[in-house]
Amino acid sequence: MEITLSVNGVERTSDVEPRRLLVHHLRDDLGLTGTNVGCDTSSCGACTVLLDGESVKSCTILAVQADGHEVTTIEGLAGAAGNGETGALHPVQEAFHAQHGLQCGFCTPGMVMAAVSLLDENPHPTEEDVRLGLEGNLCRCTGYQNIVRAVLAAAGEVRA
């Protein structure tokens, strides 16, 4: 079936099998491998992308369901909300860097996308809001402390 997605602002038309999952479409058909496959069971959030601006788990959406919609992956974030210069990191990416919000980095793309969606819905979160808002993303390394700190720091950045 032919589908057209706006991926990181670029229209991408492909012929996909109906059972093709969005995450496989992004990674294997479109070559956007920043989005990771972790648990494959809608639990870990490593595959989180934005669908029309909201966080979703791309392992639990068929590519055909995203037909006609806007998808933003981690690759589309840099330059999107920063100072407009190509390659400028998004404030959330900057904050993860500055606050050391990662160790192995596997969960990071999903974690960043979930944080972007969280801050979009709640620009002034409390620490509790951040913890609850990242409930759908698992990290095996950090113990979450620096991730939470990064999101709170990004909130300050977004505010300023």
């Binding site: 109906p18 809608s42 639990s43 909201e54 788990k57 639990t60 959406i61 068929l62 979930a114 969280l118």
Partner: protein, 279 residues
Amino acid sequence: MIPAPFDYQRASSVDEAIELLRQHGEDAKLLAGGHSLLPLMKLRLAQPSVLVDIGRIADLSYVSETPADGRVLRIGALTRHHDLATSELVREQVPLLAHVASRIGDPQVRHRGTIGGSVVHGDPASDLPAALLALRATLVVRGPAGERSIPADEFFTGFLETAIAPDEVLTEIRVPAVPGVGWAFEKFNRRAQDWAIVGVAAVMTDGAGGPGVGLVNMGPQPMRAAGVEEALRAGASLGEAAARADEGTDPPTDLNGSAEYRRHLARVLVRRALETASG
């Protein structure tokens, strides 16, 4: 994990969905947000040969009061958990429902999952069915023969089984408004985003039927705590009522706890819920 192959059909209206279901019979499944169905398909526990995507029927996503009397909230079946949780109208008129929706899964799940999908899945471990039982909601379904209304009490008939026919579509959930009425939701789990080991939804209505108490994960299907409700109607204390929380239940034994543990947990959580709701 990849689902087995299927034919994909898009319905642009409820009537078209019903027609597609009629054509394809029991081999077809409706796809809304997909957050109950797709995980099952990836595990190949479900292998429908036809998926009818109703996710693009825009006019099934709404929350509105009944024009004739503002006492019943009408919720479109495709309303997402996120929309339910953040709807001012729901938070004001049926705060229990908005709160329960805000506790389902995680934000990503709530951005996709729909109230209708959760209800027709009929999972005893889901939160919304227990809340809809407590609130004495009515489910409106439409099929080739027209529309019918099914009380929540008659809707859940067994493990993942409901009263909806294979060629019917759930279109609307009608929930009596209970502004200002005490309520509580207790969801007990040990890890973030898990299903409840046991959950309790309570609302202290004093109208017909009295207080409503729904139970999560206490049997093969979503159920109400009938003994608790009966005790409360008869004027028993909250403690006496809560002691009957596991009456008529048939809780499962799994890695999270034995049936006996769940029975105990239900009594504790019902007591907490009743105290909060009466506080």
